[in-house]
Symmetry: C2
Subunit: 307 residues, 2 copies
C-alpha cells in the first residue's frame, strides 16, 4: 500500500481531502496559492511535514500563476502558526532563489528529503520496539501526515516490517478526530491491528489494554526538547510517565526550532469554538499543547535516536 497526501503535476497540486476521510476518498486539484493556503487552513492537508511539502508546492504554483513570490510566501506563512515544518519549507524555497526551475527543484527536494527522513526515522525508531509491544498514539502521523510513510506511525510500520508483532491503541483525538478518522483508517489499509479509544481512556487503557510504549509526532520542538504537538499529547505523556510507559517523539530535523529556547515561546494555534461545541458555550480550543522534555524518553529523528 502506498498512500500519499498529495502530488504535483502540470495540472496543479492534487491533494487527498483529509476532511472527507474515511467516508470519501476525494481528490482536490489546487491551481492557485489561495487554494493551497485554504487547504492548509481548513485541514484538507494536515500533519506538520505534509504541511511543509504542500506549502513548498504552493510556491511552485505561485511561479506558474505569476503571483509575486513574496506575496505567496506571506500568504502561506499566515495559514497555521505552530508547525515548524511550514516555515522550514518556506525558508528553504526563499533561499533557493526566484526563478521557477530553482523553486521547483527546492520544493521537490523538500518532499524527497521528508520521504527519506521518514524511512530513516523508521529504521532508527524500530529498534526501540519489541515483538508484542502495544503502542499508544495520538492524532495521525502516517503517510498522509508526511511526504513518506509517516513519523510515529512510520516507525511502527518499520518495526512491523522487521517481523515484530506490534499493535496500536489510537486516541480518537478530539475535536477533529484525526485518530478515529485517519489513524484507524490508515492502520486498516496497512493491516496494522488498531484499537480506537476516546482520549479520556488513556490511563485506564495503560492498565487494561497492556500498553507498553507510546510514540507521537511533533509540530515544533524547542531547543530544550519541549514538544508542541496535537492537543492531548501532554496529557498522554503525563499519563504514560505515571504508568512507567516510555514516551517517544518521532520527528524530522525540519520540526526542530533551534531559535526557540523553551515551550513557553512556541506559538500555539487556537481554533474556533465551534470545533468543540455546536452550542452557545464558552470554549477553549488550543490545537496543540507543549510536552516538557522530562516526560519524553527519546526523540526519533532521521539521524538517530536522541535521548
Amino acid at each position: 500500500v502506498t498512500l500519499r497526501a498529495f502530488f504535483l503535476d502540470d495540472d496543479g497540486l492534487h491533494l487527498l481531502d483529509q476532511r472527507a476521510l474515511p467516508q470519501q476518498e476525494r481528490w482536490l486539484v489546487l491551481r492557485t496559492v489561495e487554494d493551497v493556503a485554504q487547504a492548509i487552513e481548513t485541514l484538507a492537508v494536515r500533519g506538520a511535514p505534509a504541511i511543509g511539502g504542500a506549502a513548498a508546492y504552493g510556491m511552485v504554483i505561485a511561479t506558474r500563476t505569476g503571483m509575486p513570490l513574496e506575496e505567496a510566501d506571506a500568504r502561506l506563512r499566515r495559514t497555521r502558526p505552530t508547525a515548524k515544518n511550514l516555515f522550514f519549507a518556506l525558508d528553504a524555497i526563499r533561499d533557493a532563489g526566484r526563478d521557477a526551475p530553482a523553486v521547483l527543484a527546492a520544493a521537490q527536494k523538500i518532499v524527497r528529503d521528508d520521504e527519506a527522513a521518514c524511512a530513516a526515522m523508521g529504521e532508527h525508531g524500530a529498534a526501540l520496539f519489541a515483538d508484542g509491544d502495544v503502542v499508544i498514539t495520538i492524532c495521525h502521523t502516517g503517510a498522509l501526515a508526511t511526504c513518506g510513510q509517516g513519523t510515529a506511525l512510520g516507525v511502527i510500520k518499520s518495526a512491523r516490517a522487521q517481523g515484530k508483532n506490534i499493535s496500536v491503541v489510537a486516541l480518537e483525538t478530539r475535536p477533529l478526530l484525526q485518530g478515529a478518522r485517519l489513524t484507524a483508517w490508515e492502520c486498516a489499509k496497512e493491516g496494522i491491528p488498531c484499537t480506537l479509544i476516546t482520549d479520556g481512556m488513556s490511563a485506564f487503557a495503560m492498565k487494561k489494554l497492556g500498553v507498553t510504549k507510546a510514540i507521537v509526532g511533533a509540530d515544533r520542538i524547542a531547543r530544550d526538547g519541549s514538544t508542541a504537538n496535537k492537543i492531548g499529547t501532554y496529557a498522554l505523556a503525563t499519563v504514560a510517565k505515571a504508568h512507567g510507559v516510555p514516551f517517544y517523539v518521532a520527528a524530522p530535523q525540519s520540526t526542530f526550532d533551534l531559535e526557540i529556547a523553551s515551550g513557553a515561546d512556541i506559538p500555539i494555534e487556537e481554533r474556533a469554538a465551534t470545533e468543540v461545541s455546536g452550542f452557545a458555550t464558552r470554549v477553549w480550543n488550543p490545537a496543540f499543547d507543549v510536552t516538557p522534555p522530562e516526560l519524553i524518553a527519546a526523540f526519533v529523528t532521521e539521524r538517530g535516536v536522541v535521548t
Copy 2:
C-alpha cells in the same frame, strides 16, 4: 433555578430525557417497569444517585401495574452494572416489604435522603473551596444526576452560595458528551462560569487556565477508596496529581460498597462500539474507570470530608 431529573405522580414517572439535552427539554412519562429499565439503559436518566431514585420509583410502578416485585427487581438490576446506588436502592425497597404503601414510602425515602445528602455534601465540601478557585470536573454531577442539587457540581453550587467566586472547567466527556451537553447547560442555567474543553486538554488546561482544584462524582467506591466513575476520571486524577491539583470525590454513602475490597473487583460496564465510532473499527468502550485511592485527596460525603 430548581432542576430535577424526574418526579412521580399518579400518571407515572415523569423523566427529563437527558439524551435530548441541551437542544430539547423533553419529558417522558414512564408507566411500566420496562419503560423505566430502558430509560436507565439508554441513559435517558443517568448519574448514579439519579439511577437509584429512578429505579426505586420503577418498583413503585411495579406495584401499580401488578408486576411481581421479584421480576421488577431482577429487570432493574440488569440495567447498568457499575453504579452502586442502583443496588443500594433496590436492596432498600426489598427490605421494606411487599405491599404497595411500604414500597412507595421506601422509594420516597430514597429520593428524599439523596436530596438531603446532596445538601449536606454541599455544606461539607464547600469548605474545601476558596474564592477564585478554578475547578475542573468530568461528566455531569449536577441536579439531573441526583435527586437533589448534585454531588460534585452541588458542592460547587454550595461554595458559590457562600459568596465564593468559583468557575468551572468542564471536560466534554466522550463518548456521550455529558460534560458538553449537561454540565455546560446546567452551569449556564445556574449562572456558573464554565469553560468547555475536550478530554485531552486536561493537562494543558492545568497549566494554561490556572486550574486549582478538581472534583468529580462516583458510581461505586470500594473499601480501599478505589473509585469507579465515568471513563476519563482516572486520567484526570493522574494529570491532577502531576500538577499538584487536589482531586476530590463527592458521593453519598449509597455509592460506597463495603463488600468490595478494591477497584479490581468493581464491575465495569462496556458499552457499544458505535458510541465511539460510526466506522468499522475495533473499539474499546468502557463506560467507567477506576481511580486508585492514592490519587484522591478527600471524599466529600453527607457525613463530612474523609481523607
